[in-house]
Subunit: 301 residues, 2 copies
């Protein structure tokens, strides 16, 4: 069975690799000629356009940035799409957009699944966590490929169209607060003047049996292992995708207080204005660790 | 080798059980006659006083509430303590108190180790995470018993006197923010009006491969499994020990911003004044899950 992949960035290429490892045939397309060339040299079967992908694959998975790009790709896919084809959006699209897309595609006999995809760069080896929304019938047909790329028990049909991206949106909203909580703790640990703590040693210690053990904490220990704990050369600007802000907007609409997310967004905005501090530099490095997000190196003065 | 345990509450009794399982002899004391009776019936060797414990054990471990109780117990232990005896404080004492106690005891030839103890109720089976401060010589002597009760790689000498409780204080400060971040996310998940999400299913899903997977998330899934997700009968008041407030005070003194901890403490204070909301009820249940902390059941109106 051919699976189409559109977009061979960090997530798309990782999913393609897992599909190949599970003996699926993959046909892929990326808008960048350079990325296509690299992927081709790495042995991936490449198409010359999104339209060509849907000629060869009845299930096509998108890993492209949220917004118009998704609609443009869908338009191209429809050129060759046939009845009962399935388009899966594996990116961080706004859930309302996913609801609209599913409705439009349904009218043309094509299924649309929205699939929140978590796990970051490490998902390639460990498997991803997939939150999937859309028609049960389409989910059932695509389930074997979800199973192939997810961690054990790491995929679920969470509801109708939009539900997958909605759940992923909240997931990301929680992530913002977790990052802040760890970073401000490690900032105090490093910046107080009473003891000479070894942050790597303590991050590692806490991953073994403490109440606050977590995957993000393991990645934090890895940051200290790779970078040391001084971090004075690391830029403290923290970027963000749309999901954190969307979560807060939705929470306000639904009259659900999310003070921690709100504060975390404030800190991120402040960090981009001012260059941030030790805590935000650490967050930038943790985000690089799990998602390959860029961070700045400060110029030596 | 005899190990003394003073205080047979949730932590003390769990540590005693692990020590017995590792073939140590334990002699224990608790101020409550009822607890002593129960422990005796369960086969634990009981003393009639703290003083009697230090007659039989060269290493005595305290699991009692922070404050004067610790000093009172130490006074009783000193009646029979001999040169080179080791007193370990496994509770959540203020680090400055631990520094003072270590100094005072040193003058009497007795060692004092401050041991931040994380892992909660589950530590009994899984092993604890121990953050230990104090003289290297005393640490080296006590290391086999730390090894016996900790999770694999779950104990470390983090610095001189007070360092163990200082690190545990920051650990708890981080925990406050993590709890808030998860709880407000699950509050939106449950209280929005667009989808009928199954919170238990989604908490479980997220523990398999997502970026936000953690021990606290596993306990959250367990809460939904045991309680359902409605929570309307659960009181939203969240109690606190001293450590969260101490962390924030210390952060202010050290000029390290901890906005997430600050906000979390505000929410807890608000919850006790007003009865809280869905998110704080969930936190009360998670705290019960890991630490056995009490929560209220609302009277049916």
């Amino acid at each position: 069975m051919n699976i189409g992949i559109i977009g061979l960035g960090k997530m798309g290429s990782a999913v393609a690799a897992r599909l190949l490892a599970a003996d699926y045939s993959v046909i892929a397309f990326d808008a960048s000629e350079e990325i296509r060339k690299t992927a081709h040299e790495a042995g991936l079967q490449l198409a010359d356009s999104a339209a060509e992908v849907s000629q060869h694959a009845r299930i096509v998975w998108l890993f492209v940035p949220a917004g118009d790009v998704v609609d443009n790709i869908i338009t191209q896919l429809l050129i060759n799409a046939q009845e009962n084809h399935i388009i899966i959006d594996g990116g961080n699209s706004f859930f309302q957009d996913s609801i609209k897309r599913a409705k439009n595609l349904e009218q043309q006999g094509v299924f649309f699944l929205d699939c929140g995809t978590s796990g970051g760069l490490h998902g390639r080896d460990l498997g991803f966590c997939l939150m999937i929304g859309g028609a049960q019938q389409a989910y059932d047909r695509a389930e074997p490929i979800f199973n192939a790329i997810a961690m054990n028990n790491g995929y679920t049909h969470v509801g109708p169209s939009g539900a997958g991206h909605y759940v992923k949106m909240i997931h990301n909203g929680i992530e913002y607060g977790l990052l802040e909580a760890y970073a401000e703790g490690f900032s105090l640990l490093h910046n107080q003047n009473r003891y000479n703590f070894d942050s790597k040693k303590i991050a590692n210690l806490w991953t073994h049996g403490s109440i606050i053990r977590s995957w993000l904490l393991e990645l934090t220990a890895q940051v200290f292992k790779e970078q040391g704990q001084d971090l004075s050369t690391i830029g403290g600007e923290i970027q963000e995708g749309g999901t954190g802000r969307w979560t807060l907007d939705e929470a306000e609409l639904q009259k659900v207080p999310m003070p921690i997310l709100e504060k975390s967004l404030e800190v991120r905005a402040w960090s981009r204005k001012t260059g941030g501090d030790y805590a935000t530099a650490l967050i930038a490095l943790i985000r690089h660790q799990f998602g390959g997000h860029n961070y700045k190196i400060k110029k030596q003065s």
